[in-house]
Symmetry: C2
DNA sequence: CAGAGTTGGCTAATGCCATTAGCTTTTAGC
DNA sequence: GCTAAAAGCTAATGGCATTAGCCAACTCTG
C-alpha cells in the first residue's frame, strides 16, 4: 500500500471540488475517499470528521471569494466597484456552488477561526465598495448587511434554479446592481 | 394497536413543526414518527418517502408565506406595502426556519405542482407590492427578482446567524427596506 | 546506513437512518 | 356481520459516518 501523499489541505481541496460537482448534500466521505484514491477511514487521518471537513471547505470558499472580489474591485470606485464586486461574487458562487453552500449556516468558533478570518476579509472588500457612497459611519453596518443580502440572495436563488426562464437572468442581475446603486447614492442626509 | 388517525396533511404539518424545532437538517423519519406516536415505517403509509415529505413541507411553507405576505399588504401601497411585505416575510422565515429551509433548492415538477402554485401566489403578492412603483412591464421580472433576492438574502442570513451583533439587526432591516424603496422610486426612464 | 518512532493506510465492526417486505388488525361500506 | 382496503407493526436490508486495532512506510537520528 503506497502512500497517497495526502494532507489536510489536499483533502479539503478535493472535497470542495467534489462538492461543486455533486452538490454539497451529495458530498460523502466514501465518495471523497474514492476521489483521492484511499479507503474511507483513511480520511480521518487528515480531518477530524465530516463537520470538520465542511468547516474547512467553508473557510476555503470564503477565502477564495474574498480573493475574487478583492481582485475585481481593484482600481474601481462607486458604481463600477459595486458592479465588479457583485459580478465577481456571483460568478464565484455559480462556478463553485458546492463549496459556497458549505458556508451557509456555519458559525465561527472564535475570532481566530479561519472561517471568521476569511469572512472578515470578504467583508473588508464589501466595505471598500461602499467607500465612495455617501454613507455615514453609523450606517455602514446596515449598508454592509444590505449588500450581503443582495449578493447572497441573488446568487443562492440563481444557484438553486429558483428563477424561471421568463427573462434573462444576467439582465436581471445588472438591473439589481443598478437598483442598489441608485439606493446607495440617495442615502438620507442624517445618519 | 389503536389507529393514530394520521393523514398526509397531519404528518406534513408535524414534520414542518419538527423541522422548525430541530432544524431542517435534523428532521429524521424516526424523530417524526416518535412525534406523531407511530413507528417509523408507518409514516410511509402517508408519504412516499423523505423527499416527498420535504417537498410537501416546502409547499406548505410557501403557501403560508403567501398568506402572511398577502394579508400584510392589504390596504397598503408603495413604500408601506413594501415594508409590510418585507416584515411579514422575514417574520415568517424567522419563526419557521425549518420549513422555510425546506423550500431552498426545490424545483416544481410541473405547473400543477403545489410548490409551483404556492410559489406563484407568493410572487403575486410581491408583484402587488411593486404596482405603485414606476416600473415598466418589461422591468417587472427584474424587479421581482430583485425583491426576492433582498427578502430571501436577508432572511436566510439572519436565520443562519450570519450577522454579528455590531448593530441592531431590526434597524438594518428597516434600512434595507428604505434602500430598496429609494431604488425602486427612481427607476430609469426607459423600460 | 540501521533502527526506532511517528504517520498514514487498511480491514473489521458498530450504530444510525431510510426504506421495503410481509403480516395483522382496525375500520368503512355494503 | 362480512369483506376489503387502509394503517399499524416487526424484521430485514443497505448506505453512511465513525472508531478500534493492526501493519507498512516514511523520517530522523545515531
Amino acid at each position: 500500500m503506497p502512500r497517497a501523499g495526502l494532507d489536510p489541505a489536499s483533502v479539503v481541496a478535493a472535497g470542495a471540488a467534489l462538492a461543486d460537482e455533486v452538490g454539497f448534500a451529495g458530498l460523502t466521505m466514501g465518495l471523497l475517499a474514492e476521489r483521492v484514491g484511499v479507503r474511507t477511514p483513511s480520511l480521518y487521518k487528515h480531518i477530524a470528521n465530516q463537520d470538520d471537513l465542511n468547516r474547512r471547505i467553508a473557510a476555503l470558499a470564503l477565502a477564495e471569494a474574498a480573493d475574487a472580489v478583492g481582485a475585481a474591485i481593484q482600481g474601481y470606485a462607486g458604481r463600477d466597484a459595486l458592479a465588479a464586486a457583485a459580478r465577481a461574487f456571483r460568478d464565484f458562487v455559480l462556478t463553485h456552488p458546492g463549496r459556497y453552500a458549505a458556508t451557509i449556516g456555519v458559525e465561527p468558533t472564535g475570532p481566530d477561526d479561519p472561517i471568521a478570518v476569511a469572512g472578515e476579509r470578504l467583508l473588508g472588500s464589501f466595505t471598500a465598495v461602499l467607500r465612495a457612497y455617501p454613507i455615514g459611519l453609523e450606517e455602514m453596518n446596515h449598508a454592509l448587511r444590505a449588500l450581503r443580502s443582495f449578493f447572497h440572495g441573488f446568487a443562492t436563488l440563481q444557484s438553486g434554479h429558483a428563477f424561471q426562464w421568463s427573462a434573462d437572468v444576467d439582465d436581471s442581475f445588472e438591473w439589481l446592481i443598478a437598483l442598489v446603486d441608485r439606493g446607495l447614492r440617495s442615502t438620507p442626509v442624517a445618519g
